[in-house]
């Protein structure tokens, strides 16, 4: 816990039912990273900046030379950029969606992690949205989407869906931040630099916690938490239509929309778990983010892995039964051919092993769940590779199927995207409280260590001491 100067402050933004000492500790712990920055933070930011700078250099090279510097050619014309676009939009999916659903049903266990989830959505959308621009080769032509757009184009649908989702997610992120900005204004404002003070004043929107304000905030959040659920589901459906609206095996599938939504939630939950573990450790939030949140999200991950198994079975059994033109090649490619190792890693490493890790109590620890989430995230990136490259490899005319290998430029861009993602999260973590303090206080249960639902132990002992650090 970090000792901070305690300026005179209004407590009207918080309810008074919880013990003052506990609330004090929560506020201090959550706000500590905003008040103090170590050299490690700057070193980390510097490292990320170097990676991003390298990606920018490679991008300029691509702009000057053209897309020939990538591994994409006429036969496989979508590659790492579109794979990464789908991946980032996918991990953006779960944050806001999960937060909204759990808020609608008034679940409490997730409150310490809702903000992280909402941040993932906004940041992943910001980063993912860059990839179509990079893939264009001529980014200035994005204006053609506006001047010469056509409703018939799934790309236009995608453009509209993502901007709509990003705007909604940003509003949904900001609303519960208002009382916490007021907390920052009251607790940090007097000692903070002028720009930060001004920012907190502006962002707090004059929040005092009055009944009128609480009612207004409640109404705004209710509207957003309801509308954002169908918007989130529809966005990833629309992303899938970029593929599914083409007459190309294996994109030509009616189940693609739901399949993409399930995959997005699956990878999004994994991303939340990983970010939760990192921020918990870095920001010393072990007291508030406990094994309970990891278990609950782990069980959700387990359920989604089974849903993914179902979708894979549904997709491959139906197309494999009919074996239309192109399907035999694709099946051979996936099962025993060029893409076989990736496909089997995706199935076993991404769906089966994480499910087993979470199922057995011995491995259902924070480290185990985070490891399972890492496997899921890698496997889901590979799954997008299988969809994009696997689809384009199917010959539409009698020619030899082409291979695709991303070039250094494409890998650099991907590294830059991950660095940008980490950089924005790192900077946000210094400006915004990463735990929704007012909600945790307001909805705090009778016991901080309150257990979430327990999974059957299959005869094994499930004696798990609460973990304090992973």
């Amino acid at each position: 816990m970090v000792a901070m100067r305690q300026p005179a402050r209004s407590t009207a933004h918080l309810p008074l039912e919880v013990p003052a000492e506990w609330r004090e500790g929560l506020e201090s712990n959550v706000l500590a990273p905003l008040a103090r920055t170590s050299w490690r933070y700057f070193a980390w930011i510097g490292f990320l900046a170097v990676v991003i700078a390298w990606a920018v250099v490679m991008y300029v090279h691509q702009l000057q030379t053209g897309l020939v510097v990538t591994g994409m050619r006429d036969r496989i014309s979508w590659g790492l950029y579109i794979i990464s676009f789908v991946f980032f939009i996918g991990i953006s999916h779960a944050g806001t969606l999960l937060s909204a659903i759990l808020r609608v049903v008034k679940a409490r266990w997730q409150l310490p992690v809702t903000r992280m989830a909402e941040f993932i959505t906004v940041v992943a959308l910001m980063v993912g949205g860059l990839f179509p621009l990079i893939d264009l080769g001529r980014p200035d032509r994005i204006l053609n989407m506006i001047w010469y757009g056509r409703w018939q184009s799934p790309l236009v649908w995608d453009f509209l869906a993502i901007t709509t989702y990003l705007t909604g997610s940003a509003i949904y992120l900001y609303l519960p931040l208002i009382p916490d900005f007021a907390l920052c204004r009251d607790r940090l404002g007097p000692t903070a630099p002028a720009w930060k003070r001004g920012f907190f004043n502006l962002a707090a929107a004059g929040w005092t916690g009055s009944a009128v304000q609480r009612r207004a905030l409640d109404r705004a959040m209710t509207i957003m938490m309801i509308v954002i659920i169908p918007v989130a589901v529809s966005v990833h459906t629309v992303v899938s239509w970029i593929f599914a609206m083409t007459l190309r095996e294996p994109f030509n599938s009616t189940v693609f929309g739901a399949y993409f939504v399930a995959g997005a939630i699956f990878s999004g939950v994994a991303a939340i778990i990983i970010l939760m573990a990192v921020l918990r450790r870095v920001l010393h939030l072990e007291e508030y983010i406990t094994i309970n949140q990891f278990k609950a999200l782990g069980f959700f991950l387990l359920a989604m892995s089974l849903v993914m198994v179902y979708f894979n079975a549904s997709e491959y059994i139906v197309t494999g039964y009919k074996m239309e033109a192109g399907a035999p090649f694709h099946f051979h490619d996936l099962l025993v051919g060029y893409l076989g190792p990736y496909f089997w890693f995706y199935l076993v490493g991404g769906l089966v092993v994480p499910a087993l890790i979470i199922t057995f109590p011995r491995t259902r620890t924070i480290k185990g769940i985070v490891f399972a989430a890492v496997l899921v995230l890698i496997a889901m990136w590979i799954e997008r590779y299988l969809i994009v490259v696997g689809g384009f490899r199917v010959p539409l005319m009698p020619y030899t199927a082409r291979h695709y290998g991303p070039s250094l430029t494409e890998w650099s861009m991907l590294a830059g995207a991950f660095a940008l993602f980490a950089l924005i999260i790192s900077v946000f973590a210094k400006i915004f409280p990463m735990v929704s303090v007012w909600e945790v206080v307001e909805h705090r249960g009778p016991e901080p260590g309150e257990e979430v639902l327990e999974f059957p132990s299959f005869g094994s002992t499930d004696a798990q001491a609460p973990e304090v650090a992973s």
């Binding site: 208002i178 009055s210 509308v227």
Partner: protein, 206 residues
């Protein structure tokens, strides 16, 4: 669709011309060891776009009809600024040297149908053309589907040019977007009440 038969009197004359040309040595020069050949092609004088067009070619040498030979039928085509000929059908000659095939007329206007025998170890290559006119205005690339959504797959299809034009042409989708953004607007309205209360209330924001 009726095509003139290559065994009709008119095409018998064609065959005769081909034979005389052969004798006069006006056919493509044959490589050493190859017999010179002549080919004649027959196609309907007119066809409707999107319909199957039957074509027939007759391949002969000085010794008579050439059976079991492959004949290709080509029409002019342009793709991405490149002009050339596109193979649209092929057939194998029978005992009378006749190769019959069909292709789909996909371009309107005057069309030169070209029959090509590429030659082999025994026979020299030969070509012939026939003119026809393709008429009609059928849009070949719009599938006839049951669900129609204005602006999306039914007229008026937006033309490029102005923002308002294409935005307004797909009003059902636009209406859905307006609905979603209106709910955002409602949330922002309630958000503004927070600031308004702070400005008016006793505990005004500092």
């Amino acid at each position: 669709m009726k095509i003139p038969s290559l065994v009709s009197p008119r095409l018998a004359i064609l065959g005769l011309v081909a034979g005389l040309s052969l004798l006069a040595g006006r056919l493509p020069a044959a490589a050493a060891g190859q017999e010179p050949t002549a080919i004649a092609v027959a196609a309907p004088a007119s066809a409707t776009i999107g319909t199957a067009v039957p074509v027939q070619a007759r391949l002969v040498s000085a010794a008579g009809p050439i059976p079991h030979a492959s004949v290709d039928f080509l029409v002019p085509a342009s793709f991405l600024g490149t002009d050339g000929e596109m193979k649209v059908a092929s057939g194998i000659t029978d005992a009378q040297g006749l190769a019959t095939a069909t292709f789909e007329a996909r371009i309107t206007g005057a069309l030169q149908v070209k029959a090509v025998f590429s030659g082999d170890n025994t026979y020299a290559p030969s070509t012939a053309t026939s003119s026809m006119t393709v008429t009609g205005s059928k849009q070949l690339y719009v599938p006839d589907i049951g669900i129609r959504l204005r602006g999306l797959n039914s007229s008026p299809i937006a033309q490029s040019g102005t923002v308002s034009h294409w935005l307004l042409s797909g009003w059902p989708i636009g209406a859905l977007l307006v609905l979603i953004w209106s709910t955002y607007g409602a949330a922002v309205f309630f958000m503004s009440r927070i600031s308004a209360d702070a400005a008016n209330g006793p505990e005004a924001a500092r």
